[in-house]
């Protein structure tokens, strides 16, 4: 089955998840990882919030892809630019005269027919994959709320538009997007209630409402297990008043914050473990589940993203 396929062997990955789970970081890390393995890789940011530029510590990304690390290119989606490119390539419309009003009206047409903006987004991405400009395209896709609409756009358009060029175009897009050897969705979650709930719902919806295959779920920000077998008991003893006093005199400083800190770490880890269990038991059994540890880093930026890439690489068995 294609789900046994290694994650980076596909040619198009949509990375999505609830807001705040770190999907941009994961997408960027996957990009760095693939590029580091010699794949010519394109990273696409859909919601132009500039987060991708931040995690890669590069200047603002634009529609025109730019090499941000050896073998790694980054671009941000712009539906108007995408439309321009499409018209230029597909229809050979003389540019100057016609595009002005068309671009201005785009907002309105897109408002009337949701799916127009989405198709321009997905279409551009699919086109890059079809033309084999890159070995791998990693998309920092929209958050859970909007991604289904985006990925379902070619089908939705297919239903709404009965004739014309667009209809022809959606056919090859659908073929490419629904091929599990080519395309996969990576859903990022954190071990908390809402992200896990949304992940489970999203996995269902993606299977029902789109033809885009699921590739994996990545659990991000997994807290480390502090204590091994029997060690929790040692810790509990150390927290008792008499032993606290002994420890205070042994180290000659305030131990309460240190012990309370460890206690907080244990409790956080424990409550999150429940959510991981729920995710594991409720996801389809054959869907690969990867764990990415929480990184206790000073700041976010390229260095952290590289660490993340190494960590994911290890988790994927590279």
């Amino acid at each position: 089955m294609p789900r046994d396929l290694e994650l980076l062997e596909r040619r198009l990955l949509f990375v999505t998840g609830k807001g705040g789970v770190g999907k941009t970081s994961i997408a960027a890390a996957l990009g760095l990882l693939a590029a580091g393995r010699g794949q010519r890789t394109l990273l696409v940011e859909i919601d132009a919030k500039g987060s991708l530029a931040d995690v890669l510590e590069t200047g603002p990304t634009r529609f025109e892809p730019r090499e941000v690390a050896p073998g790694l290119f980054a671009m941000s989606m712009d539906t108007e630019e995408s439309l321009r490119e499409y018209l230029k390539l597909q229809l050979r419309v003389p540019l100057l005269a016609r595009i002005g009003p068309l671009a201005k009206s785009l907002d309105f047409v897109a408002t009337a027919a949701p799916g127009v903006k989405e198709i321009l987004t997905v279409g551009k991405i699919a086109w890059e994959v079809r033309e084999r400009h890159y070995d791998l395209v990693v998309v920092d896709a929209s958050a859970t709320g909007h991604v289904v609409g985006q990925l379902a756009a070619p089908e939705a358009i297919n239903e709404l538009v009965h004739v014309g060029r667009v209809r022809e175009q959606t056919r090859w897009m659908l073929d490419l997007l629904s091929d599990p050897v080519v395309t996969g969705t990576v859903v990022v979650a954190t071990p908390e209630e809402m992200p896990v709930t949304e992940t489970l719902e999203l996995v269902d919806r993606l299977e029902i409402e789109t033809r885009v295959p699921l590739a994996a779920v990545m659990v991000n920000k997994v807290l480390p297990e502090l204590f091994g077998r029997g060690e929790q008991e040692v810790f509990d003893r150390l927290c008792e008043p008499e032993t606290r006093a002994l420890l205070t005199s042994a180290v000659g400083g305030p131990v309460d914050p240190v012990l309370d800190g460890a206690d907080l770490a244990v409790r956080l880890r424990r409550s999150r473990a429940e959510h991981i269990t729920r995710l594991r038991t409720e996801l389809p059994g054959d869907l690969p589940l990867f764990y990415v540890p929480y990184l206790f880093t000073r700041a976010h930026g390229l260095r952290t993203t590289r660490t993340l890439a190494d960590t994911i690489g290890a988790e994927l068995g590279y």
Partner: protein, 392 residues
């Protein structure tokens, strides 16, 4: 209790709108504020939420959130040891239902109403169009506020990609319906005459989309235009409601990079629009004692000299120590000590980063409150009240 926190804000406003990027605990914060207001201030309080966790609905004693307003059972408050002075109500925004209601209210006649409701593009817009959530949330808020049924309405905003869309939704909706461009777009379908200026557009659009589809779009707009006056008037009224002195915004953020950036951006946007920024709620903040220098030294020592400290403990602990099954193995005690020290160092790094972010963020609002990193997701009323007390 206090008065320095959100209490004063909630006591002096009729609408409190929580905003922030996804995953920061916006919905939970809105519910916690509502619960505290109902408990402490009295009156009727409504929490209007967009996308609640199922457990949050359960926490409020509700089977599920619905478009209708439901009262949170007073017994539930009693069960967590709170005697509420007022009533807590909750409702969820059902985008599609709300749009349908709006069309029913504004359509000039039954024929137009049915034609709109049956139009595939209309169904598409209301179900999928992202910004329609923003507008309808504002619209429904305005409607409930105008009804005068509640003393305080706490609104949890939709997950907006760009929070500004939310503020501009009513204005944009009005612009949309009064736009010349829109009229220009549908004119040829009314007059069946394509004028010279718009001809190239239609030629190109026909080639891309097919003319049937364009006709569908035009029909939709023609129908929708009949509701023009009602809509524009309504959108203006909604705009006035959010700018009103009785409305205040509470920005919620964790201290991670992306939410902080959005919170900053959003607070600035509120200031620019002269909307009232009531408070900043920092959620999931690590305890202050991670900053303790003495504790940091202790942690360092535990990491570097764990075996020595373990030996010292065994020596000073005497017989009681060595008799204890759990503490008998000095190597194991040393491992635990090192682990504790390392964990403190790890969290300290994050806590330091958080404090710096908090300082940056605190420049904007008059009021900043912090909620602790609770070790469990808030899943019941007790949890909501605990969170509420922290920010109250």
């Amino acid at each position: 209790m206090s008065g320095a926190g959100l209490e004063q804000l909630c006591a002096s406003r009729e609408i409190v709108i929580t905003c922030g990027s996804g995953g920061v605990g916006k919905t939970t914060t809105a519910a916690a504020i509502g619960a505290m207001a109902a408990a402490q201030l009295g009156g009727k309080v409504l929490v209007l939420t967009v996308d609640p966790a199922r457990r949050l609905a359960t926490a409020l004693g509700l089977e599920r959130f619905g478009n209708v307003e439901t009262q949170v059972p007073p017994e539930l408050f009693a069960s967590v040891g709170v005697e509420p002075k007022g009533e807590l109500w909750a409702a969820m925004l059902d985008t599609k239902q709300s749009w349908d209601d709006l069309v029913r209210a504004h359509a000039p006649d039954a024929g137009t109403r049915d034609a709109i409701l049956a139009n595939p593009l209309y169904r598409n817009i209301t179900a999928k169009f992202v910004q329609s959530h923003d507008y309808i949330a504002m619209e429904r808020l305005h409607e409930i506020h105008r009804s005068g049924r509640y003393d305080l309405i706490v609104v949890d905003t939709p997950p907006t990609r760009n929070a500004i869309d939310f503020l501009e939704a009513p204005e944009r909706m009005a612009d949309f319906f009064s736009s010349r461009l829109l009229r220009w777009l549908i004119t040829p379908y009314r007059s069946r005459l394509v004028n010279a200026a718009s001809k190239p557009f239609y030629t190109v659009a026909d080639r891309i989309l097919g003319s049937q589809f364009l006709a569908d779009i035009a029909e939709f707009f023609v129908l929708f235009q009949t509701m023009y006056d009602g809509f524009v008037e309504r959108a203006d009224a909604v705009s006035r409601t959010i700018a009103d002195r009785r409305t205040s915004f509470v920005v919620v953020s964790t201290l991670e990079d992306a939410p902080v950036r959005e919170a900053e951006f959003f607070m600035q946007a509120l200031v620019d629009r002269e909307l009232h920024l009531g408070a900043l709620v920092l959620n999931k903040v690590l305890p202050r004692w991670f900053a303790d220098e003495g504790a940091a030294e202790v942690a360092d020592r535990l990491v570097r000299e764990a075996p020595e400290v373990a030996a010292e403990l065994a020596r000073t602990g005497g017989d009681a120590w060595t008799a204890d099954e759990a503490l008998r193995d000095p190597a194991q005690v040393a491992r635990v000590l090192r682990e504790i020290g390392q964990s403190f160092d790890d969290y300290r790094v994050v806590a330091t980063r958080e404090r710096e972010k908090a300082t940056t963020l605190a420049r904007h609002p008059e009021l900043v409150v912090s909620a602790p990193h609770l070790d469990h997701d808030v899943s019941d009323l007790a949890g909501l009240v605990a969170l509420g007390r922290a920010v109250w």
